[in-house]
């Protein structure tokens, strides 16, 4: 086993080359953007950063705060949809209707192959109805985002489901007298938490980075407001781009850690 993995694993040097190349691809635009935000006309300073967080400029930057708030609310509602609708449906399909797994997988992976702009064409008339029935608040975008995050959330949760013996754990809990809510809350969720956490974080990252749907449906979110502000203050827009990227990277690191946080293995 060790021999096999040693022969197919890349050598230390190859890994270093891959690491540095990938690192550069990400680092060059970010470092360039960061240097750009430090420019003050004569040299480099933190004056642009100070200005962004200066209360005196709040009027110019108001769209960004509104967009950020809307995006965070959207992230919460979208994650709620993933946890309340997608996860229980996946558990149900895996336990009761395993024959439907392939069809279900096909359906939830579909959004990844549909460009956002095509999705909007279909969603626009639906949003007319939504606008009349539940209002035009930015949070209503969560219904659309709930669809766009499906493939990512599905893969994360399914990986966790595949890692445990869902059926046996469920039947064992039932045989011990557990009701369905107890089975889900006390047995399944704790054992699927890695996948649920990863699904939540990746959904948050997707929502914070989404531009097309929000823009075409005319809702103010972080990405659309960054565009608006960039036309007034390019430095502020660059600073917020950097901050949102840092936030997304932070989320990815948490997801990576969560993946390694296997059930029980880290405890004595």
């Amino acid at each position: 086993m060790a021999v096999v993995s040693a022969s197919i694993a890349p050598s230390r040097a190859t890994r270093a080359v891959i690491g540095v190349t990938v690192g550069l691809v990400f680092a060059v635009p970010m470092v360039s953007t960061f240097l750009y935000t430090l420019r003050d006309g004569t040299g480099y300073s933190l004056v642009n950063w100070a200005r962004v967080f200066d209360p005196a400029n709040s009027r110019v930057l108001a769209p960004i705060w509104t967009g950020l708030t809307n995006s965070l609310v959207l992230a919460v509602v979208t994650v709620g949809l993933v946890l309340v609708l997608l996860a229980p449906t996946m558990i149900l399909v895996n336990l009761r209707f395993p024959g439907l797994r392939r069809l279900f997988e096909f359906l939830v992976l579909l959004p990844i192959s549909i460009p956002a702009i095509v999705l909007v064409v279909g969603l626009a008339p639906i949003y007319l109805v939504i606008g009349r029935s539940v209002g035009t608040g930015a949070w209503t975008l969560a219904f659309a985002y709930g669809i766009t995050v499906l493939p990512f959330a599905f893969r994360s949760i399914q990986a966790s489901i595949d890692a445990i013996d869902l059926l046996t754990l469920t039947e064992a809990a039932r045989s011990l007298g557990a009701s369905w809510p107890s089975v889900i809350g006390l047995v399944l969720v704790p054992n699927l938490r890695t996948g649920l956490l990863a699904a939540s974080l990746i959904s948050t990252a997707v929502v914070l980075g989404e531009f097309t749907i929000a823009s075409l449906l005319n809702r103010a979110v972080l990405q659309t407001s960054l565009l608006v502000v960039s036309k007034i203050d390019t430095y502020a827009s660059a600073i917020f781009t950097l901050l949102s990227l840092a936030f997304a990277f932070g989320l990815l690191i948490v997801i990576g850690r969560a993946g390694r946080f296997n059930t029980g293995t880290d405890r004595p």
Binding site: I164, D165, T168, L169, E171, A172, A173, R174, S175, L176, G177, A178, S179, S182, L186, V187, P190, N191, T263, G264, T265, R267, P268
Partner: protein
């Protein structure tokens, strides 16, 4: 044991009445009837796909029968969901909750029955003691061996003092030595607690070793139910004769109360119409004899050393393969020529044309 695990000493009667179960077009149980006395240990034994696990799952409430009834203590529980049937179940695959320590796993069923945390843990400790794992209470399941995990699963199933203990091939994933010791342990605990137990297995040795009665299943029905001795000595059907213990099927002719096999007369266990028959011979029904004694010439095809005895497969002059059990001191090698005779013990025979 302590009061915490004193089950109802009278046990619970368990009945399956004409249970029919199908999956789509495929009928798995054809009107299965089974009556288990309070405190009895009954094994469901049979080849893969015979419906034994489905029968157990219907008993547990994990599957719903198409028709028929499940009765616990005379009460129809067919419509009672699994979590209210008051059963304890041990599964074939490891079923401990990976995120809970051993003690919390065992206390799980008690907590669902609203037993207070402290008392639940105390009773879980007693149950762990029963299976000899009191020192492992703080471990996580992945820190235990397969045998230990199944022991914990047994403690978890017993701690709620269920009316019925259901064991779904709990030993099949374990290695041979652990399997034997755990199976004996299960039987001892069952006898001590007097709990009605249904044990599903495809391993006849396992079933014969621990059961009060064994139900041999074939194609969705019980072929025969009886004590291990009954099944071994008086198999009712060809399937039972072949599945329980080793049997060699050889051609013979029935005449009156006897059959002629290999030119020798052997008494028949049950009378049968005169004519061609197939006779079931146990390895211990056959003897190795000297060259001039009555019997049939044979050539050794294979021979296994099994401790105090050997089991040797021989091909007779008429090209029939039979197994002979003989003392290990009679050493034989593949290709040896020898002579095989029949012991004068009653044998089971079936009309030749009816044997599949």
């Amino acid at each position: 044991m302590t009061a915490a695990l004193d089950l109802q000493p009278e046990g619970t009667r368990v009945e399956l009445r004409t249970i029919r179960k199908s999956f789509g077009e495929h009928v798995v149980l054809h009107g299965l009837d089974l009556d288990i006395a309070p405190g009895e240990f009954v094994s469901l034994l049979g080849p893969s796909g015979c419906g034994k696990t489905t029968a157990l799952r219907v008993l547990a409430g994990l599957e719903t029968a198409d028709s028929g009834a499940v009765l616990f203590g005379g009460r129809d529980v067919s419509a009672v969901p699994v979590n209210h049937r008051d059963i304890g179940m041990v599964f074939q695959s490891y079923s401990l909750f990976p995120h809970l320590r051993v003690l919390d796993n065992v206390a799980f069923g008690l907590r669902r029955r609203k037993v207070a945390g402290g008392l639940a843990k105390q009773r879980a400790g007693v149950a762990l003691d029963l299976v000899g794992l009191a020192d492992f209470a703080d471990r996580f399941p992945h820190q235990l061996s397969g045998g230990q995990q199944q022991r914990v699963a047994l403690a978890r199933a017993l701690v709620t003092e269920p009316r019925v203990l259901l064991l779904d091939e709990p030993l099949s994933a374990l290695d041979a030595k652990v399997r034997v010791s755990l199976r004996d342990e299960i039987r001892q605990i069952q006898l001590r607690l007097g709990i009605t137990t249904v044990f599903v297995t495809h391993d006849q040795e396992e079933a014969l070793a621990v059961s009060d009665r064994v139900a041999v299943m074939g194609a969705g029905q019980i072929e025969q139910i009886g004590t291990p001795e009954d099944l071994y000595l008086r198999p009712a059907t060809a399937l039972v004769a072949e599945f329980v213990g080793l049997s060699s099927r050889v051609a013979g002719v029935a005449i009156g109360a006897k059959a002629i096999v290999f030119g020798q007369e052997v008494p028949l266990r049950e009378p049968i119409a005169d004519g061609p028959v197939e006779v079931y011979l146990r390895p211990e029904n056959l003897l190795l004899v000297g060259p001039n004694e009555p019997g049939v010439d044979a050539v050794v095809a294979e021979s296994s050393f099994l401790g105090s005895f050997r089991r040797t497969l021989v091909r007779t002059a008429d090209d029939t393969l039979v197994r002979v059990q003989h003392p290990a001191t009679d050493t034989v090698s593949v290709g040896d020529r020898l002579r095989v005779s029949l012991a004068k013990v009653p044998v089971l025979a079936r009309p030749a044309q009816l044997v599949p």
